[in-house]
Amino acid sequence: MGRVVLVTGVSRHLGGTLARLLSEHPDVDHVIGVDVVAPPHTIAEAEFVQADIRNPVIAGVMSSASVDTVVHMGVIATPTQAGGRSAMKEINVIGTMQLLAACQKSTTMAKLVVKSSTSVYGSGPRDPALFTEDMDPRHSPRSGWAKDNVEVEGYVRGFSRRRPDVSVSTLRLANIVGPRISTSMIDYFSLPVVPTILGHDSRLQFVHEDDGVDALITATVNDRPGIVNVAGGGMLMLSQAIRRAGRASAPIAAPLMPVVARMLKQSGLADFSSEQVRFLTWGRGVDTRRMRTVLGFEPRYSTVEAFDSFVAAHHLNSVLPPERAVALEAQVIDLLSRRGDRSA
């Protein structure tokens, strides 16, 4: 049986990479990539269809190509990429509703894979150290991308109730980093002086862009229904990440943070939503046991390795690279041990 996969959001990095790799996958016959603008990069043998998922046209595309699998990558994280927050919300929420409406009508549809985010757990002082997939947020996200993801997941749940015959996999990805992807977190760590929240140091988890795509491919070509957290192993503290990136941090008192965030936003240096400030204040951790047992996926990069790959690709850490620091320490130890020998 031929397998026809429709991927939304292929003009952005992750969606495009996924479409390209799926088109080269032996278990997949045909890939249709959908987005409002043509992808700036090659998507290999995937067929590009210029369409807006907010438009019922998408239903026609699905039935004419008899699509059996839909991978929804069309949830946009950065308002600048969508042309403003209201346009972003429109694409994320209305787009998902339209897409799911088309999926519900489809007679060939057998599988839905949705890229969501661990931001649906929110972030706050009363959070458990690690969220498992069945825990409810203790501080529900109230705005921005995180709230869009919560709404998208809500519609996906509704869809899976109405179409129990369709296998639904929802992947909640931790913050994606890597040498090529551009996200608001990448912009943040690229600032020469990184603003942090005074008196707080948050726990961060990252997933490497290649692992994120691989996890989505695993969910697409296999039948692994359910909600699964995806993150690289281990944790990185915000202060530690800033040091590994060779940046200086500027702790700012929490009440002043909105002012600084607005200034950064206006200067175009980094996009600082209130949601992101909450995340940088309280951090978040997710449990990834189901990623291994249910999805059967093991990331190649740990959280630290994923972050380091981004630092290396952007040549951020140039003042005191770790190799130089280690060499310096070895010199000091050598000097001290020789001194010790002489005095002994």
Binding site: A129, G199, D201, M237, S239, Q240, E305, G340
Partner: protein
Amino acid sequence: MPEAEVIALDPEGRGPRRHVDPAESDLPQPTGWEGRLASAVGFVRRRITGDYEVDEFGFDADLTDSVLLAPLRPLYRHWFRVEVRGLENVPAEGGALVVGNHSGTVALDALMTQLALLDEHPAHRHLRMLGADLVFQTPFVGEISRKAGHTLACAPDAERLLRAGELVGVWPEGFKGIGKPFSERYKLQRFGRGGFVAAALRTSTPIIPVAIMGAEETYPMVGNVPWLARALGLPYFPLTPTFPWLGPLGLVPLPSKWVIEFGEPIRTDDHGPAEADDPMMVFNLTDQVRETIQQSLYRLLVDRRGVFGD
């Protein structure tokens, strides 16, 4: 074949950066004060380059051992002259729940217990404490608590730590315990809602009662200013014989002599995890733990030769 320099290169050139820690290499290592200086240099290098690990709770063992607990050690040894008894009741490995009485206005008793287990237990165990919401909401305090290995008192975290084989510490009296007036010293308050017992039952880990004598007299709370506490968002605003009358000097604790006594473990594995959902069972076991600690305290107080003397 010429001998090539060994560089750990990832075949795809995008793996993690790796290097040998000079303190763990085969190079000759200095001793004496040079050795101490060398390890300090190593510590600073690891901090500056972010080359250290934290666990999933944010526990930073390197920082805790070298920096956070260091200023407490003189207090432990010379000021309170802490005497530890019953360390053999604390297992060398595997999960266990340490439950103690809480007192003394500031939670010094919890920190001294952490230090006792790290420095004096043969297995040098880290005590992972469960703290109140307020601890983690407060800037600096919350940050340092997480780095010192503490986490929020909630069932998922308690069970995760116990399942991972960690030694978990709880002070179920909470603020009712440390913020009680001096006249009620060594009278145990209500033991929360028994959540800690349920966590131990669910994970079949033993409960180790610990009685701490001496902490009550460090900052004797003779009064409370409720309106000031409300204004500052604190559970109480303490008045002690020295605070706030003597200013910063009032922050110096009184040098009481301390005894920390670990009691015999109370087993939970003969009950079965399902009994964690039986409230009567949980209440009874909670009372048993509370009564054990109260009796140990009374016994310690009877044998006490003086509040400040040895």
